[in-house]
Symmetry: C2
């Protein structure tokens, strides 16, 4: 034990399982005295936590790939913080760590469930975004699945999202020309700021027409790579415009997540034969062996300004985390949605957040 | 010139472009004296020719990937024959050659458009089927696209077709367990004869139910590979049952070829993400560099009986070629549809044709 002073922490408990849109009475912010870490545990002062759509599923109990949150217990979320007390030699005091005990100011975490973050010169929030799960997801999709090479025309949907905003930048870094689709004029502007050579708001017409227009703008006949975060119309439009040997990296299908009935798939998959194209789904979990290599590259790119983290930081500290979660569900976030909840928060990294917005 | 005797040949001319189902008056069997081959040409006595669905398109003039047949000229078709006179040193008399001048008994062919067949101990018909385009298509799909390995569960649709019947056998050769779908009880029996561990007639119910039943028969949870010749319901059912890391080789989509309106694609492509699966289209033309290796392997497999050619040989010689073409269009062929039109015909290979049938 390096420290034994009494610590109190505010934390969000799940009080009832929401049906439909979550309401304030589903949760409660409580305060308690945090026990000293037992053997094999550390105490972490959380700096920033993530709010993500899958948490809605864990609240409702219907999630299939993550455990439901128990009722009357603090909820979970990815968070980054500094170790303030340690009862395990492998995670000393002062370490910047990533863990899954967010929704609270201070957390007692098993050392085995902490990951010490190597690049702790970067703002904590960065480790939840471009240097974390969404960033590495983009990297796997661009480098390993789509295998982007210089000269490729790469189409990215949901291009202002946490994954998409990184995919746009990585594709540019690999020498590609990039077409971005996003859901608002502001997000389109962001995509262009990040380097997209053409970008459109998918509300402005059928995706196939908008994509064709973007290709005309680039004077290109078709796309070599589609980084798909959306499925649906975007996927069908992309397949329509593929070049020979195109690669479609399937990362997510937002368009069907909220649909209760199966949506028809692209009617033009025969083009995959004519164009000898490949469509491949992937999950980050299969690529953990590459994480160190990814982090080393990405940290360098961030430091040199070649990749810019895109975050939306919701304000209000731990108290504001619930409203931040609802705001994220309402689509009010651009890039990675995070909530700074401690002094050592993501706000320190403000200079390299091109779209840093503080809500409320 | 090695020979100068006068040769007459019967040949089928296109007289009018069919609309809908071709009728007898669209073509005419004529006889003419075949000129001696000029410099750079050879004379070939055709032994066997291929009848294939795409020829209907070339007759009608609507084909996009092959030139329409000119009216009042002999039609074209892949054919195998022996060179009986040569005016080009590169293709000597006696060579067994593959060329595109079928629909006739004797053809004058530019030497540059002849391919000398290395494995001329095998019946000519074999070079149009399992050792030719359909066989190599199956080989590319199984070995290069799907990368079948021992223990894989491989699903093959149109399994009694020219490509599918080879794919079933190659998958078995690679140590896979094979589930076959075909369109009649006889074709199902054939698929089992070729080694399929389970097989069903897709008319017997929804493909997804039949596939699930076949998997139950094999006591397997899902498929590792789908060799798709069909698209449509078969593709959706296959996607539903994929294992992690599944590979779907898209070879053809019979289900949509005759459809004038786009058919919806699989509604469950998100499973490609959950299962980290790959779907890839391919065309044989991209793999010509592998042809010698393929032919060497396949010729050995045929000689040793490990792969059995499956042909339907239509009778009647060159005179019967038109009815053979119509019969093929009506689905009366199993495996590769060929028409022996000379003395040195595919019938010599009868012993290794498990489903050799002579029609009419």
């Amino acid at each position: 034990m390096d420290s034994a002073e009494t610590v109190t922490s505010r934390e969000w408990l799940l009080r009832s399982r929401p049906t439909g849109r979550p309401v304030d009475s589903d949760v409660e912010l409580t305060r308690r005295v945090v026990p000293a870490p037992s053997a094999g545990e550390v105490l972490v002062a959380n700096a920033v936590m993530s709010v993500e759509p899958y948490m809605r599923g864990r609240m409702g109990g219907e999630a299939t790939y993550a455990e439901p949150y128990p009722v009357d217990q603090p909820m979970r979320a990815p968070a980054v913080g500094r170790v303030t007390a340690s009862n395990d030699d492998s995670v000393p005091v002062g370490s910047l760590v990533l863990h899954d005990f967010g929704w609270r100011e201070h957390a007692v975490v098993p050392a085995a469930q902490c990951r010490i973050l190597a690049h702790d010169d970067l703002a904590p929030a960065v480790h939840l975004g471009v240097l974390g799960i969404p960033g590495m997801t983009a990297w796997i999709g661009i480098d390993r699945i789509a295998q982007v090479v210089p000269g490729d025309v790469v189409f990215v949907s949901s291009a202002a999202g946490a994954v998409g905003s990184t995919a746009v930048q990585l594709a540019k870094l690999r020498g590609a020309r990039v077409i971005a689709s996003a859901g608002s004029p502001e997000k389109v502007t962001l995509a262009r700021d990040l380097g997209a050579d053409a970008a459109f708001d998918y509300h402005d017409g059928p995706v196939s027409r908008l994509l064709r227009g973007a290709l005309a703008e680039l004077d290109e006949p078709g796309i070599d790579v589609y980084f798909d975060n959306v499925g649906g119309d975007h996927l069908e439009a992309a397949v329509r415009m593929i070049n020979d040997r195109a690669r479609i990296a399937l990362c997510g299908m937002i368009s069907i997540y909220n649909s209760s009935t199966p949506q028809p798939g692209p009617s033009n998959l025969i083009k995959l034969i004519w164009r000898r194209a490949r469509m491949e789904g992937f999950l980050l979990r299969d690529h953990q062996g590459a994480r160190e290599a990814f982090e080393a590259d990405m940290a360098d790119w961030i430091r040199s300004g070649r990749v810019r983290p895109v975050h939306t930081e919701f304000a209000g500290g731990v108290e504001g985390a619930w409203d931040a979660f609802l705001g994220m569900l309402d689509g009010r976030a651009t890039g990675k949605a995070v909530v700074p909840i401690g002094g050592d928060s993501g706000t320190r990294g403000g200079t390299f957040l091109p779209d840093k917005e503080v809500r409320r």
